[in-house]
Amino acid sequence: MSWRCDVSQSGFIATLPAIAGRARMPVLLGLALALGGCSATRVEESRQANTGMLTGESIVILGRSSYNDRETEESFTDCITSELSQGEGAIRLIPEQQFKDEMYPWFEPRYAPTSAADLEQLFAEPGVQARIDASQIRYLAWIEGDTVTTDKGGSMSCTITTFGGGCFGMTYWEEDASYEASIWDVQNLTAAGEISADANGTSYLAGLILPIPIMARPGNAACKALAEQLRSFLIDEDDDDQADERDE
């Protein structure tokens, strides 16, 4: 388990004392800074098979869709994709929409496989195996989960008139982000493992003439933690195996 403060807010936070001085509300501001902007993140991994990626092999990040009232946010899968495709150890990714178009209709919500055991039957459909091979897809990672608001309170009112305007008050809301990635190896038609990431944090909106947001962004924290663990899950063991092979 790790604690993480969202450093992207730091530039904004640096300007707050000046605003607070003008607004004469240093106590409120200090309280907001002390409590807000941080997320607690927990990541767990369960491995069922060896993994590894060869040069040219790729992965597809898929958000699990359903017809009920909750589903994985597109912004979350976009975040995972962005994190994995950048930086050191960048992984080759096939965009989700491109993959779904190429495999249509087999990855539409109504017909998408729900377990790795379904892959064998799916790959027997005409053209499916050929398209997977052509794109050099090695893994599918299904992302399931969402971010929900678990608590909220406070009050703030804003007024705009022809002589000016401003906001006064404070609101807060606590969010819990819980996501799980199921990784399927499409070369071996097996489940390779699962990684889960949970994050929660409280955000504040303080009205000091200007509305000042202090955001915890637990969804973003869960995304970064899950992406980092996923990268490690996919490529680290292979590096170890290759090192072992070299030693032998």
């Binding site: 017809y67 009920n68 009232d69 249509y104 209709p105 109504r110 499916v128 022809t162």
Partner: protein, 254 residues
Amino acid sequence: MKANFPTQPTAVVTRWLVRCQFIWRSSVMGSIRRSGSGLSIGIIAVLLLTGCANNIVVTGSVPTPLVKKIPAHIGIYYPQSFRTFRYEEKIARQGHWKVELGVQNLGFFRNLMGAMFATVDEVGEPPLAAAVQAGLDGVLVPEILKYAFLTPGISGLNFYSASIHYRLTLLDANGAKAAEWTVVGYGKSEAAAFGENAALAEATMLAIRDGGARIAVDLVKQQGVAQWLAALPGQTVPEASQPVSSAAESPEKS
């Protein structure tokens, strides 16, 4: 990241914008009367009014389905109402919605049918002339029976959803009705602040895709269609593509 996660302020702003007609009447008109500061308030008022009319043109990718072709020479008749389908609805405190989906839907079906059947000819309205009918194993007539959508303001959920009820009528080589099947396509898309039109367009596109997926996979499983296929001269019935699983229950309710 394309969009931040929903937070309370953005939800408040979205709800505020959704009720723009109310704002126009109570606040903007009042401000104009009180202050008389014409031009800038007038521009804001025009912008607010423009935001209240939701003109949505559905667009999206047109995927080619990976299914075994049905070994038949089929004629397809697309009725004019199918080609130019447009939905319009005025919802109290939600605004005026116009959804243009005919062009995208037609393009999608042309691609779908081309991938599903050995050969496809677009034909006129049945009954067909004997010379035209003679070269065909059957004629398929797709229609849109009903389109409906839900906004977060109506459903209380954080997404837009859309459903399309299609009816497919299959006529055999003699022009007699061989099968009739109603298919419901369903789609939903996350609500985004300032992006309600895009969200409903995406939900509608997903409904078209869902309907198309059902047709691609399940058409040959319909009793009348299977019998029609079995009766085709010199043809063997193709194996029906089996869905690997049912990932989600079909809601078919909106």
